[in-house]
């Protein structure tokens, strides 16, 4: 094989209906802790990100697996590809996993992320979400933005890729308070009409 010929990646297949509940532990959906027994980070505003996953017809999807990944409150990642890694919040993991209940509902506890500038431009604060489940041969990827940052959202290089009338679908809605935290709602429609369906991104 020539030196530049890449190995083809392994095909993805459905996670199926039986992803074990025994692989979940209390706090897996909490991005603010690096471990279930660690103290939550003190930086940034803790929030709850909630939503419902539905399929065609608006029916809820049970046992969908969702994973979240985001920058810390300062817009940094604890990762070598972040030039400001040394400033990243050591008490913030940025990753969490949740699964939907009978009503298709999920919840993450996290902090309001910070924005950052990289080669793609000025990224508005956002949380990347991926959903996997029975009936999905390939995972779907989407991104939640926040209504707190209208100016940043306007210039975000990813949000700008969408037709203007669909951009609002990727902005979470304020949904009151719970456990003393602001709640943001971000519903995910897997399949529906163009206007119902959540905009997804290639992986």
């Amino acid at each position: 094989m020539p030196a530049d010929a890449p190995l083809p990646p392994t095909s993805q297949e459905t996670i199926g209906p039986f992803f074990p509940r025994t692989l979940f532990r209390e706090g897996d959906n909490d991005l603010t802790r690096v471990a279930s027994d660690a103290a939550p980070t003190g930086r940034g505003e803790a929030i709850l990100l909630r939503g419902q996953v539905t399929r065609e017809g608006g029916f809820p999807c049970l046992n969908m697996i969702l994973e979240a990944w985001q920058a810390d409150a300062g817009g940094r990642f604890d990762h070598p590809l972040d030039p400001e890694r040394h400033l990243a919040d050591p008490d913030f993991l940025g990753w969490g996993r949740a699964w939907t209940d009978e009503d298709g509902q999920f919840e993450f506890r996290t902090v309001l992320p910070g924005g950052y500038t990289d080669g793609t431009g000025r990224r508005a604060p956002h949380v990347n979400l991926t959903a996997m489940g029975a009936g999905l041969m390939r995972r779907v990827l989407t991104t939640a933005f926040f209504p707190d940052f209208p100016a940043e959202n306007l210039t975000d290089p990813v949000l700008a890729l969408l037709p203007e009338h669909l951009r609002g679908r990727l902005v979470a809605h304020p949904d009151g308070e719970a456990e003393g935290l602001r709640v943001f709602r971000f519903d995910i429609r897997l399949r529906g009409s163009v206007d119902e369906e959540t905009p997804f991104f290639e992986d």
């Binding site: 392994t10 095909s11 039986f18 920058a71 990762h79």
Partner: protein, 238 residues
């Protein structure tokens, strides 16, 4: 870990490797698969990065599924399954989290959602999680899973298979896939395996048997490598 160890280039999936969706005969895919094509986006820092220190959140110490406790051995053909996690340059992915789950020898999952009338094995839960070593290696000790009919109207039998979930160094290299066994007559009829159009790509989802001389004579031996997306834009310094 420095930047030289990490892929930072993510080409689109090569043709024929991603499953064609929705899948004829797999009814759920017709109500779940988005109708609109996903939008291409530039790879910003959020996509290129990922959690590197997940083992504190997800304990990675479950490699033995066949023996829950001393003397409590699962029913079925004992099996040693090992392999490597690589990137598209063929370089080992160190410290990747590898999760595995499977049905028991009777083709039943230890999961309340699986209500099929097949026996549960009190000595088999059927999930594990490990981290790859410096050479990108993982290994599990388990049993060979049984086949099961899919709980949909026009059913078909799923061939024995192992579910894999791999969390690599970037969120774009995240992979959920399945592994099959060589020579199983059900492979040919599996709608999920055959959703992948490219025959060579399907072939790469099938494990390779290892003879007892290589793995010992008390269990079946299989090896299976998995390639995550991602390449190195920066050439490796020797």
């Amino acid at each position: 870990m420095n930047t030289h160890d990490l892929p930072d280039r993510f080409d689109p999936w090569p043709q024929g490797i991603e499953p064609d969706v929705p899948v004829p005969g797999y009814t759920n895919t017709w109500t779940h698969t988005p109708s609109q094509p996903p939008q291409r986006r530039p790879v910003s820092r959020t996509e290129a990065t990922g959690p590197l220190d997940l083992q504190r959140k997800l304990p990675c110490d479950e490699a033995n599924l066949a023996q829950l406790a001393p003397g409590k051995i699962a029913i079925g053909q004992l099996m040693h399954l090992a392999g490597r996690i690589l990137d598209e340059d063929g370089r080992p992915v160190r410290g990747a989290v590898v999760e595995l789950w499977q049905a028991n020898a009777a083709g039943r999952y230890y999961n309340p959602i699986d209500q099929r009338d097949a026996p549960l094995d009190p000595n088999f839960v059927g999930n594990g999680r490990v981290r790859t070593d410096e050479e990108g290696r993982y290994a599990f000790f388990t049993i060979k899973p049984g086949a099961y009919p899919v709980p949909v109207k026009e059913t078909w039998w799923r061939p024995p298979h192992i579910h894999f979930s791999i969390l690599g160094p970037s969120s774009l290299s995240r992979l959920v896939t399945q592994m099959y066994f060589p020579g199983d007559p059900l492979n040919e009829f599996d709608r999920i395996l055959h959703a992948t159009p490219d025959a060579a790509a399907r072939g790469r989802l099938i494990a390779r048997h290892l003879p007892p001389a290589e793995v010992g004579d008390q269990w079946l031996g299989f090896t299976h490598d998995i390639v995550l997306r991602g390449r190195h834009a920066t050439p490796q310094t020797p």
